[in-house]
């Protein structure tokens, strides 16, 4: 039985394939189309899924779409969007998902629509490996719900209560992100990274914009917010309340902004903790499954687990809307088969595109770059790589299948020595070209984790933070509040990376590497060998390990390549899809 899951038309569209109960392929469209957060129908990732599943379009039993377009339209109308505006008609058309699946994918079979928050819930619980669990989903908005409380048993999910639009923790967080001068739908992560620098002195003020309600409910004071204007998400009243004009994009970050970020983060954590206690009280479960865009807030996730009533926590790597594809497909699979998902607990996110050494060689051969092939000499390759890392080199790491979800977890990563105090600034400046306050994440063998971090369980998807234990000096990956966003690996799930860590440890006595996503600012994470070569060149990394090949930076070669890339970029501007502003359409 082959079930395709699709999420599309809002943000981060994605496609996945569940084949006979196993999630075997999943990818965000942006990785193929190279349009950041591509919201279009995932045409290319659909092809990827068929290819990975070695099936044809006739073999697809169902396509599961991650939300209900009629409910969503109702909410949009409720918000006041003018359905008859020709541009909006196209966007809001409740038949659009089906139409596009028929017209653009050519799919002839049955299509099932799964509610947005059920898709989120399923993306977590059905892949958690838990027999039974409480489920909390929190995001900006899907159809109506913004927060749901549910339980999962075996292969079924029961939603018990929901909080409806416009009361939304996700939108609250986005609105303040917007106020702080970052992009909505992607800058939230920056606000979270900024928070540890501030003090929660505005918590009391922020408590004026959100009112606690009975049970799982809460409500936003809509005098402070504007989710429909399309230009900004907050009103002048919020400015007045906080006593400052909103920060202009790219302008200097002041103590005020840091304090707002901290206050917001504390507010979010407090509300989530309270609501998870409520969820625990009505379900009595030991396990908690989280999903929805807010579940990407790994600081809050760790906080809930440490301070809340639940014993275990599961968060899927694609907790955002991209993961909705995975949840929708799982719901439909379980309904049709009566069985459970066989790849639960989800062990790996390596569900994207992969390239053979031959494909890599052919692309590389015709560039100005020269690499050394270590075919059949993997240990040697890892030793050479570890040596460079120990020498303080920043290395592009391109191996196997690409990750599904927003984080790079060792397939398309940039790696470096976490002990080096200059490393963070160096990577930030030359590679990420981004605000320097954000910490990088460490990757560590599962079995060594407890030596360095306050973490007693595996964290394969980098979705919670914990403290760095005393006496370990890891400046590049430790945040100001002594926290770190840990990814653990084992040989079973990623042998290459696990072996690299031990090769690095052999030289340095440190089994940890700094791991960040392999992309330059504003671009999707690299997907193909060509993407990797471009990023390596533009970012001027010290070395690139791509498949079995190791390429050391040779400035002449890189200059040649960059000359070409610049020339290309300056003469040919590709058409970008216009995502407009923050209409939650």
């Amino acid at each position: 039985m082959n079930i395709i899951g699709i999420s599309a038309f809002y943000h981060d569209s994605a496609c996945c394939l569940i084949k006979d109960g196993a999630l075997i392929a999943a990818a965000q469209e942006e990785r193929f189309s190279r349009l950041k957060n591509d919201p279009g129908l995932p045409v290319k990732s659909f092809k990827h899924c068929l290819k990975e599943g070695k099936i044809s379009i006739n073999d697809v039993d169902r396509i599961a779409f991650y939300e209900n377009p009629v409910k969503k339209l109702s909410r949009q109308l409720w918000c006041g969007y003018n359905y008859l505006d020709p541009e909006l008609t196209k966007k809001m058309d409740p038949r659009r998902p089906e139409k596009e699946i028929r017209d653009k994918l050519g799919y002839e079979g049955k299509i099932e629509f799964v509610d947005h928050h059920l898709s989120h819930a399923a993306s977590s619980f059905l892949f958690s490996g838990y027999e039974s669990s409480a489920i909390l989903t929190v995001d900006g908005v899907g159809e109506w719900a913004t927060t749901t409380y549910a339980t999962g048993e075996q292969n079924s999910i029961r939603i018990m209560e929901e909080v409806c639009f416009p009361d939304s923790l996700g939108l609250l967080y986005s609105a303040i992100t917007n106020y702080l001068g970052f992009n909505v739908n992607s800058g939230e992560y920056k606000v979270m990274g900024l928070a540890p620098y501030g003090k929660p002195v505005y918590l009391d003020l922020l408590l004026k914009v959100i009112k606690p309600g009975t049970n799982g409910q809460f409500s936003l004071n809509m005098d402070y917010f504007d989710f429909t204007s399309g230009t900004r998400m907050f009103t002048e009243k919020l400015e007045a309340l906080l006593g400052n004009k909103p920060r202009k994009k790219e302008s200097e970050l002041l103590a005020f902004h840091l304090d707002i970020a901290k206050s917001l983060q504390v507010l979010l954590q407090d509300v989530l903790l309270e609501k998870s206690k409520y969820l625990h009280s009505i379900t009595g479960k030991e396990n908690l499954c989280l999903a929805g865009g807010v579940a990407l807030n790994c600081v809050a996730n760790g906080y809930i687990l440490r301070n809340g009533p639940f014993k275990r926590l599961f968060v899927p790597p694609a907790a955002n809307d991209a993961g909705g594809a995975q949840g929708a497909a799982a719901v439909v699979y379980c309904q049709l088969s009566g069985k459970k998902i066989s790849t639960s607990p989800l062990k790996t996110t390596y569900l994207g595109a992969s390239f053979s050494d031959k494909e890599i060689e052919i692309v590389l051969k015709n560039t100005s770059l020269k690499g050394v092939s270590y075919q059949g000499r993997r240990e040697e390759l890892l030793n050479e790589t570890a040596k460079r890392l120990a020498d303080g080199k920043v290395i592009g790491w391109f191996q196997g299948r690409a990750e599904f979800g927003p984080r790079a977890l060792g397939s398309r990563s940039i790696l470096a020595d976490p002990r080096n105090p200059e490393m963070r600034d160096r990577i930030n400046q030359m590679v990420k070209k981004r605000e320097s306050f954000r910490p990088f994440a460490p990757v560590i063998p599962e079995e060594k984790c407890a030596i360095y971090f306050e973490l007693d369980h595996p964290s394969p998807f980098m979705l919670e933070t914990c403290s760095v234990k005393p006496f370990h000096d890891l400046p590049a990956i430790t945040h100001v509040d002594n926290s770190a966003r840990v990814q653990t690996v084992n040989r079973r799930d990623n042998a290459m990376l696990a072996d690299l860590l031990s090769a690095f440890e052999k030289i340095t006595d440190c089994p940890i590497l700094l791991n960040t996503s392999f992309n330059v600012r504003g671009e999707p994470i690299v997907n193909s060998p060509a993407d990797a070569l471009i990023c390596f060149s533009v970012a001027n990394l010290d070395a690139l390990v791509i498949g079995d090949t190791l390429i050391d930076r040779n400035q002449f070669q890189i200059d040649e390549l960059n000359k070409l890339i610049n020339c290309f970029d300056s003469t040919w501007v590709p058409v970008r899809t216009d995502r407009g502003v923050y209409t939650f359409i």
Binding site: V43, K44, F46, K47, L50, S56, I57, N58, P69, V70, K71, L73, S74, R75, L77, W78, G80, Y81, N82, Y83, L84, D85, L88, P94, R95, D103, K104, L105, G106, E108, W144, T228, S229, G230, T231, S356, K358, I362, V363, L364, K365, N366, T367, S368, A530, L533, I534, S537, E560, L561, K563, L564, I565, C567, F568, T571, W572, V573, V581, T583
Partner: protein, 722 residues
């Protein structure tokens, strides 16, 4: 509050449901929306226009007390469409006359600019007569349409011009179509699906639309320029009648008319006559084709060929103009061009509005002593050679001189062809070869331009060598070391990189380049590169990529493929190329469907040999089949799928909602492919040795694979009908 929320939600729930089921009229929706939103804010507005004074990509700035229009970074994305060198347009000096040149890519001197531009040539010629007291401002913009030209005219008044020269009309197809009302569109639709040949209604409506469109243009122009002391010259473009042919896709497109089969049969016969050079029979048949489908170019083209052979240039011209104009009936994309139907309305309006005009076809014919415009004047369908630019600007200058001084001047200038930079001319011809290749033109014309490029400057060989290697390589051009040959070469960058998606492993362009390289001993390793890069040994190779699909740029299928997850074909034949080592049989896998279905069978053909016949199912089905070694050849192999004609008129049952729906009627999709892959059955144990390859392949000699196409078509055409 909560109550309010719920009642509002109840309403929107029921609205959403009704909209989903198509049960709510727009009036009803509008009514409910106004009820819903009567006290809430209006929906999101788009950014208001700024009041800053601008002319195209230039905005008004005060520099040292002078009001200049300065290239504005805000419009960076549009820069590639404009004159590349002009950064500032200074305030007009009272001593000088200022001519503003507006127009499309033709008026920019596409493929020569910025090194050689019509505006400069015009200024040069005018200087002869008026010494330095005159200047020409170049506001020509690539791809600009009629409405945009008018907008630009209005903005350009801020430059205090003394004359406007408008050289436009090549991009007016959409404007003409937009002039048709919905009611007329419906009339067109009715006549199309009625299946009656002749299309009298459509011809009338379209010629009305030509006049209407031009009338509107001149009314606006008059409004914009009224009260100004302005001379205006309209240059009416010409089309490369002699040397620009319908592309494969244009040749294949047909109207849904019950005579489609008869038409196909006649065409097959015609190809036969063509091959035998039996022009008498061909002429009769061509007329038959026209009678069967007056909107297809082929009949006119063949008849024109016969007339030309008989020395009847006048009739040939008329026929070729009609052939060119049939493009108006294709709603699908086609090369931009000037429609002869626009000429009369423009001339009429020029007279009525005191606008001077120059008709380029007459200028060219005079130059050619009555001959029809050809490759000596055009690089492609409408872009001019250096000679073409020179002739058009002389004609324009004469008109302006007469308007200002009353004198009948005969400007004497050194031939630009002789004094031009040979490197620039060489590059332009090489780019022309590329562009003609994209437009699906013949090997003969592409080879002409490649050789012209070589003739102008032998150094172009290194570019050709790099180009063919880039094309054969799987490495994207952006990181391909061969592309370094083009960096810093401003001219070639211009057009070159955007052609990457169209770099097939097999094309007329590559064959021409291959031939030239071979003649210069630069091609020895090309066959090996091809084999190494594109081997299908042991690897399933997807043929639904632009590298292996045979279509040219202006082919509908490719445009569709960008958006879609499958390949849609509106031709009767879809062609793909793959590279085989000739050591093992090949396993091919196909998932296809035939919209509407048919009782006839589709055929899969490899190198002209029938492999399998498959039912024309309307739903996807997947088939695998072996291509035996005996049907393969070492190097490039051609795999084609022959679709079937729809059994009767198409698109009948679908209501037409907009004019673009005509697309489906005019060019129905004949077949769709969701997956097509090939793989050599077994892994090769060793790489094929170079020696034994060169004997059998010779891909780039240009002789081997060039099978007799017309013969093929005839045979297959007949088979299709039986």
């Amino acid at each position: 509050m909560k109550e309010n929320f719920n009642s509002r939600k109840e309403l929107t729930d029921s609205m959403a449901n009704a909209i989903y089921h198509g049960e709510m009229s727009n009036e009803k929706i509008a009514g409910l929306l106004s009820k819903l939103n009567k006290d809430s804010k209006s929906p999101p507005n788009r950014e208001a226009k700024t009041n800053e004074k601008k002319v195209g990509i230039f905005t008004l700035r005060n520099i040292d007390g002078e009001n200049c229009f300065v290239r504005d970074q805000k419009f960076k994305a549009d820069f590639p469409y404009w004159n590349k060198t002009m950064n500032v347009i200074k305030e007009k000096s009272p001593k000088k006359k200022r001519v503003v040149l507006l127009g499309e890519s033709v008026a920019r001197g596409w493929l020569y600019e910025p090194l050689h531009a019509p505006a400069e040539v015009l200024e040069d010629i005018l200087h002869q007569h008026f010494s330095q007291d005159i200047e020409v401002v170049d506001l020509a913009v690539t791809s600009i349409n009629a409405r945009e030209i008018l907008e630009l005219c209005e903005e350009a008044l801020a430059l205090s011009p003394d004359a406007f020269v408008i050289y436009a009309g090549n991009n007016w197809k959409q404007s003409v179509i937009a002039c048709l009302t919905d009611a007329e569109g419906y009339e067109i639709y009715r006549e199309l699906v009625s299946g009656k040949p002749g299309y009298a209604v459509i011809s009338t409506l379209v010629s009305k639309a030509f006049s209407r469109m031009v009338d509107i243009f001149f009314i606006q122009l008059k409004r914009i320029t009224s009260g100004r002391n302005l001379e205006m010259v309209f240059i009416i473009p010409a089309f490369n009648l002699m040397d620009f042919q319908s592309s494969e896709i244009e040749k294949e497109m047909f109207m849904p008319n019950l005579k489609a089969r008869a038409w196909m049969q006649a065409r097959a016969q015609g190809l036969n006559f063509l091959e035998k050079n039996d022009l008498e029979s061909l002429a009769k048949l061509a007329q038959e084709l026209i009678d069967l489908n007056s909107f297809h170019s082929l009949g006119y083209e063949w008849l024109a060929k016969c007339k030309l052979a008989a020395g009847d240039l006048k009739s040939a011209k008329k026929l070729l103009e009609t052939a060119c104009q049939t493009a108006i009936y294709r709603v699908t994309s086609t090369s931009s061009r000037f429609f002869v139907g626009l000429k009369e309305p423009i001339v009429k309006n020029c007279h009525a509005n005191k606008v001077h005009y120059v008709t380029m076809d007459e200028v060219f014919e005079q130059h050619l002593n009555g001959g029809l415009p050809d490759r000596t004047l055009f690089l492609d369908y409408s872009h001019l050679t250096i000679k073409g630019i020179e002739l058009s600007m002389i004609a324009c200058a004469k008109t302006l001189i007469k308007a200002w001084s009353g004198a009948e001047a005969e400007p004497q200038i050194d031939s630009y062809e002789i004094k031009c930079d040979p490197q620039m001319a060489s590059t332009a011809h090489f780019l022309a070869a590329m562009h003609n290749n994209l437009c699906g033109q013949s090997f003969e014309i592409i080879d002409y331009h490649c050789r012209k490029a070589f003739e102008y400057d032998k150094r172009i060989l290194s570019k050709m060598n790099a180009y063919i290697r880039m094309s054969l390589s799987k490495t994207p051009w952006k990181i391909n070391k061969e592309s370094l040959a083009f960096v810093g070469n401003n001219l070639i960058q211009m057009g070159m990189f955007r052609y990457e998606p169209h770099a097939k492993i097999h094309s007329a362009l590559l064959r021409s380049i291959g031939k030239i390289l071979r003649e210069n001993n630069l091609a020895e390793d090309l066959d090996v590169i091809l084999l190494e890069e594109h081997t299908i040994s042991g690897e399933e190779t997807d043929l639904l990529t632009t590298k292996y699909a045979a279509d040219s740029m202006l082919c509908m299928t490719e445009l569709l493929a960008k958006e879609k997850g499958f390949y849609s074909e509106i031709k009767l034949e879809s062609k793909f190329y793959f590279v085989a080592s000739f050591q093992h049989s090949v396993l091919a896998k196909l998932t296809y469907r035939v919209p509407g279905g048919s009782a006839d069978k589709i055929k899969l053909v490899v190198n002209g040999k029938l492999q399998v016949e498959l039912p024309a199912h309307p739903k996807w089905s997947t088939h695998s089949f072996d291509i035996p070694l005996s049907d393969l050849q070492s190097g490039i192999n051609e795999l084609s799928i022959h679709w079937v004609l729809p059994s009767s008129g198409t698109g009948k049952n679908k209501p037409m909602t907009s004019i673009t729906d005509l697309n489906e009627v005019i060019s129905p999709v004949l077949g769709e492919i969701q997956a097509l892959s090939v793989r050599e059955e077994e892994h090769l144990l060793s790489k094929p040795s170079i020696n034994n390859l060169s004997e059998v392949i010779n891909i780039f000699s240009g002789e081997e694979i060039e099978r007799d196409r017309s013969g093929d078509l005839f045979v297959e055409g007949e088979e299709l009908i039986i």
